[in-house]
Symmetry: C2
Subunit: 364 residues, 2 copies
């Protein structure tokens, strides 16, 4: 088992990474066990696979488990699911000491985390991610929330977990498409701040797709380490330049794809992959990346079986959808772009016409 | 104008108290004005009276105003109202820099504050309370939230305002019943930590009911000062004993009344008044208060035209409703009780039969 820590202003929390952690779970601290029970949030796909194992592990720590099982998918990251969690917590009379445990992917984690942030003004939260995307990205860093018909992740809160428990064995049941989607975020870390990791990925994409255990464990650890460092330096995304915003490489374009097609058509990681190519293409147009670098980025995403162009919504529609994004400050479109492979910047000076051209050349 | 400050771990914020502050508003800091507009949340009763004045004041600071007007009343402190705020913010394309301004009473403040806590994971928030209850209690301290069918204030977040602007002139339009309801919270400060203030109130209740401007300003200032001290010492209500929890004197009983009757039948302050009498009676049964002290408490509440007994729900129903309260920790009923007038404690050792007897003797 590997243990990393996320260092926050007020406290730190551990990320445990290892094979079989659901069965051999690290001991929970007293503040999480004193309610003698936990409320598990999971979904209809993950619960049949892993809920029994998690329940056993909780029992071994002296805790009973109550579970609320949501329908699967990004389309259900909404008020109805959140309300189902609240209803469950209230009918089970969970109090402020009862931890909420997210067992599942990013949707479950975001929903359960937002419920933890807002149930009785905040209860302890534990992440047990079971998708690659959730392991390397959404379970670490405290972003929680739900979607709104007018925009993705528009309602939410920062609420840090008390711990993240990553059992790499759960990846054995992950569908191929979701494994690839998770790799989009893994590749992102290489692009924004870790050129050596990007080069490693260029040499190991096929091993990751073949679910080589050692390769996956290494990619998860290195991704979490990158994420933990970024989060520690900018917990609430208040840095004027850089900081957490850099984690959104490809995301502003990607959110436009997800919203434009309706949530759930493309997986988040797929939309991010196409968005990364758009950001890379725009970076080339600004004179920062070479054509060869853009080709390298496109190639590694292709090999990871990810889309490298967006759907043909038209540049105008993209820009309209991007205008609703949280990254818009005082009317300007602030994007994450690449100065080089391994070096991202936040940039609000890109001319609208160049953004439109980058979108056009990478969609349809 | 009087200026108080609430000292938090990470920052401090001012409370401005004075006559005519809506017209002569203190200058707003740059972080609140740089979006050049604000989103005002108000209700159908307050907006016709004061929205124009507030809009003028914002214009004078170089800010445009967009407003969302909600229906009035505690019954509307729910998801539908919150959703209406989100819809407005999104269609107006408000971004992370746009402050949300609450213009109204406690319901508007709690809703607008929760929207500010959760819109795009948090935007700046300003309180402009127009009821006595909101001025002395709910606008200070950062508690925000909405009600759930299974319990009051069950969904929420801590989200501190950047400033609180109290224009005492707005009390001239406050209905008598709401003025009295606000006095319940004013009296509460005397009871929990300020015996001299309680004695002052015994001498000045009629002046307050007659809306004597000097008496009201003094009561508001002294109440806010007490609240600010309590909040500074225990921002997130994490103190094991005492702390912010003491502000809930009468509230656990009161919440049972509000939930048992359905939100909106009794005003919050009315339910708290009856709850204070129940807490005082229980404190007497534990040997802490004398009969004379309980009579003094009952008398000052009566003179403030507040109920001093609860509706006849039956002690069993009260206890069931109280069991859903946030103040329940690991199954025990933790109440705020009085060791003396001016000295409150949190107490989880009161026998259930004594609690039931106190309820019975103070209801029906």
């Amino acid at each position: 088992m590997i243990t990393l820590h996320v260092e926050l202003a007020a406290r730190r929390y551990p990320i445990y990474i290892g094979s079989g952690l659901l069965a051999r779970m690290p001991a929970w601290p007293e503040e999480l066990t004193r309610a003698k029970r936990a409320a598990v949030v999971s979904n209809a796909v993950v619960a049949p696979l892993y809920l029994a194992r998690l329940t056993q592990a909780l029992l071994a720590q002296g805790m009973a488990a109550t579970a609320v099982i949501l329908p699967d998918g990004e389309a259900h990251k909404d008020w109805a699911s959140l309300s189902a969690i609240y209803d469950h917590l209230l009918t089970q009379r969970c109090d402020r000491t009862t931890p909420i445990v997210a067992l599942g992917g990013g949707v479950v984690g975001d929903l359960a985390g937002f419920a933890a942030a807002t149930y009785q003004r905040g209860v302890p939260f534990v992440q047990v991610p079971t998708t690659l995307l959730a392991m390397v990205d959404s379970s670490v860093g405290g972003k929680t929330g739900i979607n709104h018909a007018l925009g993705k992740n528009m309602i939410g809160a920062f609420w840090q977990p008390r711990m993240v428990i990553i059992d790499t064995d759960t990846l054995t049941t992950l569908p191929d498409r979701e494994l690839s989607a998770g790799l989009a975020e893994v590749i992102k870390y290489g692009l924004i701040r870790d050129a050596a990791f990007f080069a490693w990925l260029e040499g190991n994409i096929e091993a990751l797709l073949a679910r080589d255990a050692a390769a996956l464990a290494y990619a998860i650890e290195r991704s979490c380490r990158n994420k933990a460092e970024v989060v520690a330096a900018d917990e609430l995304e208040t840095a004027k330049e850089g900081g957490r915003a850099l984690l959104n490489l490809g995301h502003t374009f990607g959110h436009a794809i997800e919203t434009g097609l309706g949530y759930g058509e493309w997986l988040h990681g797929e939309a991010v992959a196409a968005g990364i190519v758009m950001a890379a293409e725009l970076s080339r147009r600004l004179g920062w990346l070479t054509e060869i670098e853009v080709a390298r980025i496109r190639r590694v995403l292709e090999r990871a079986r990810l889309p490298t162009s967006g759907p043909p919504l038209g540049a105008a529609r993209y820009l309209e959808l991007m205008g609703r994004d949280k990254k818009v400050l005082a009317g300007r479109l602030r994007l994450v772009l690449l100065r080089a492979i391994g070096e991202a910047v936040t940039w609000a000076e890109a001319p609208m016409e160049e953004i439109a051209r980058a979108i056009e050349s990478c969609s349809g």
